[in-house]
């Protein structure tokens, strides 16, 4: 139903940048929230027409069906390398990567670290839901100790499966990284903060400052075996292991614009 009489100012509505089709994501999946935030930020910064986005292998592989942008599909984990290739040959484009935690923190570890190390002018969105959603809920490098997954049926045990990997903390010490922050989609206030982080990370690229990444703690109700609201509440547990906030912000000091063929 729509408003009874002539509707007044719209406070919130579906962003234009989103396609009409309903997503294949499970009910309550954070990917949908994050897609919407991206759409809002790209609209507000008017970046969409310049944007070339890199889709991951993961549940978000279909992002190209939902966000009306030019997309290329990267092999699992290689989005930062793919983005490097794009950004280097198109200094005027805005390049965005969107990766899950399996994609970025496991198989793609080398690619993200070296793209960051080179200070590539890329904005990286890192969706940490602590699990491999698409393949059926196996452990990710970010999975919490004790967490049950289909590949840690008795809960993740450090002795067998290692410790959770603080990827963004590792990246933050690299000089090529000008902005690194961690947000969450647990509730409206956090979602608001996260959107601000995404905006900052996009600006960093626009200003030619360097590599920027926003890790977003998200949920996977199906993989976690919880209802959507339960999973959002559980994020407070996750935040204890992965503290929220801005880890580094050097984006104020812009680097000189890239030379042709330069970074």
């Amino acid at each position: 139903m729509t408003a009874a009489v002539a509707p007044p100012r719209v406070i919130a509505s579906r962003p234009e940048l989103l396609t009409d089709r309903s997503t294949h994501y499970c009910p309550g999946c954070g990917h949908g929230i994050i897609h919407r935030l991206l759409a809002e930020v790209l609209e507000e910064l008017e970046l969409a027409p310049r944007t070339i986005a890199v889709a991951p292998v993961g549940c978000a592989v279909f992002a190209y069906d939902y966000l009306q942008l030019d997309w290329v599909e990267a092999p699992h984990g290689r989005a930062p390398a793919v983005a490097t290739g794009i950004r280097r040959v198109r200094p005027d484009s805005f390049v965005l990567t969107y990766q899950g935690d399996g994609d970025l923190a496991a198989i793609g570890t080398a690619e993200i670290i070296h793209a960051a190390g080179r200070g590539e002018l890329i904005t990286a969105i890192f969706v940490n839901n602590g699990i491999y959603g698409m393949t059926g809920g196996q452990m990710a490098p970010t999975t919490l100790l004790g967490q049950r997954t289909t590949s840690t049926p008795t809960g993740r045990e450090a002795g067998l499966a290692g410790f959770p990997i603080p990827m963004t903390e590792m990246l933050a010490i690299l000089p090529g990284v000008v902005y690194a922050a961690r947000g969450s989609v647990s509730d409206p206030p956090h979602i608001g903060k996260t959107k601000a982080m995404i905006k900052r990370a996009c600006k960093a690229q626009v200003d030619g400052a360097g590599f920027a990444i926003v890790e977003i703690l998200s949920n996977c109700p199906v993989g976690w075996g919880m209802t959507a609201p339960e999973s959002m509440e559980h994020l407070s547990e996750v935040e204890k292991v992965y503290p929220l906030g801005v880890l580094v912000d050097r984006s104020a000091t812009p680097r000189q614009p890239s030379p042709p063929g330069g970074s």
Binding site: I52, Y64, D70, E73, P75, T84, G85, V89, R118, P260
Partner: protein, 374 residues
């Protein structure tokens, strides 16, 4: 077009004056040829025996304001290539055997998403870390089963540095005309040797691509992908790809022949092996043997029809490779029993000598006379 005359694809014959030629190392000539062909970006990772190609690019590309990135690995290099190529840029990536193996997944992606790119493999001895000596033991990989899934990519095999220069331009043309990765398959000899070449390079004209990712500015968004989750859709896509492959197979076969008209023995060899065969054929002719050389230049599409026709004449064939026997399978497939097919190969970086090949020819001639099959 199909090149059927010996050497028309080697730079030399186009030479106005032999003196004007310059001495260049194979790896460097390939790199410079790519630059002259308008290569916008190069991505690579050091490995012997192709390191000089990367080093040449490291010096020249920045000079020209173009893109050079030494990637963190071959995986990084080929995926940077994928990204740059997705924007419609002319991209070169190079490596050698072990590094080429690491590019299988991305090659399959690019074949699937129809992304044009040129990849050079300067083959070395295998398997594994093997040796750094010249080899042709990645033929199967390049021509049959590098990545997963049903796909083929054009594979060009130069036999001289001059020809390599020419084929680099051809590779970019094929890549863009058919929206496909193209492999330039060389070996340690071609990479490391120096030969005189014409300082003349070809620059294929630029095309406008309706698929290239440039930002959805005033046009509908574009997506480059290989994922088609619905099998029905993926099958359609595969059928379209197969149709393209058939067209390439029909249109782009390249090969060269030497003294085949009166030959009752033919050596079939490509690349460096073909040069050795060339010398052996020369020696054999001096001995009065009627021997010719059939040299595939495109390994895929393979000059199947041409070989079959050759086989329909009273001939026997000797396949010579720097491998334990790989292209020989395609020769047998083409010939389908119409004539005896013998094989001589060396591996691990070893090269057969012309005398060795000559001896094999004598043996083959004998068996044929004795009516036995190769």
């Amino acid at each position: 077009m199909t090149v059927t005359v010996e050497g028309t694809v080697t730079a030399k014959d186009a030479s106005p004056s032999k003196r004007s030629r310059i001495l260049m190392k194979g790896n460097e000539a390939i790199a410079e040829a790519a630059i002259q062909a308008g290569c916008d970006a190069y991505f690579g990772y050091p490995i012997t025996p192709q390191a000089e190609l990367l080093e040449w690019m490291a010096r020249r590309m920045p000079e020209l304001g173009r893109v050079f990135v030494q990637a963190e690995s071959e995986l990084g290099a080929i995926n940077m290539g994928l990204g740059a190529a997705a924007t419609g840029a002319r991209v070169l990536v190079s490596s050698s055997s072990p590094g080429f193996s690491l590019m299988a997944e991305a090659m399959s992606y690019m074949a699937g998403s129809e992304t044009p790119i040129v990849v050079v493999n300067v083959m070395r001895g295998g398997p594994g870390l093997g040796s750094i000596g010249p080899s042709q033991s990645d033929y199967f990989q390049a021509v049959k089963g590098h990545g997963h899934g049903d796909y083929k990519v054009p594979v060009l095999a130069p036999a001289s540095i001059g020809e390599a220069v020419e084929l680099v331009a051809t590779a970019f043309e094929l890549a863009e005309r058919y929206r496909t990765p193209v492999i330039l398959l060389a070996d340690g000899i071609l990479g490391q040797a120096m030969e005189p070449i014409e300082p003349q390079f070809r620059h294929p004209p630029r095309q406008v691509f309706d698929w290239a990712l440039t930002g959805a500015d005033g046009r509908p968004p574009r997506v480059l992908r290989s994922l088609h989750l619905q099998p029905e859709r993926l099958e359609e896509h595969n059928n379209a790809l197969q149709a393209k492959f058939r067209e390439i197979a029909h249109t782009e076969v390249r090969w060269a022949g030497e003294q085949l008209d009166d030959a009752d023995l033919a050596v079939v060899a490509y690349g460096t092996a073909a040069r050795i065969a060339h010398s052996a054929v020369r020696k054999a002719r001096h001995e009065g043997m009627r021997v010719g050389l059939f040299r595939p230049i495109t390994l895929w599409p393979f000059p199947e029809a041409q070989l079959r026709e050759l086989a329909s004449r009273p001939t026997a064939m000797l396949v010579v490779e720097l491998s334990a026997g790989q292209m020989v399978e395609d020769v047998r497939l083409a010939v389908e029993g119409r004539c005896p097919v013998a094989f001589h190969g060396r591996t691990g970086g070893m090269l057969p000598t012309p005398d060795e090949v000559l001896a094999e020819l004598r043996r083959l001639a004998a068996t044929v006379r004795a009516g036995g099959a190769g």
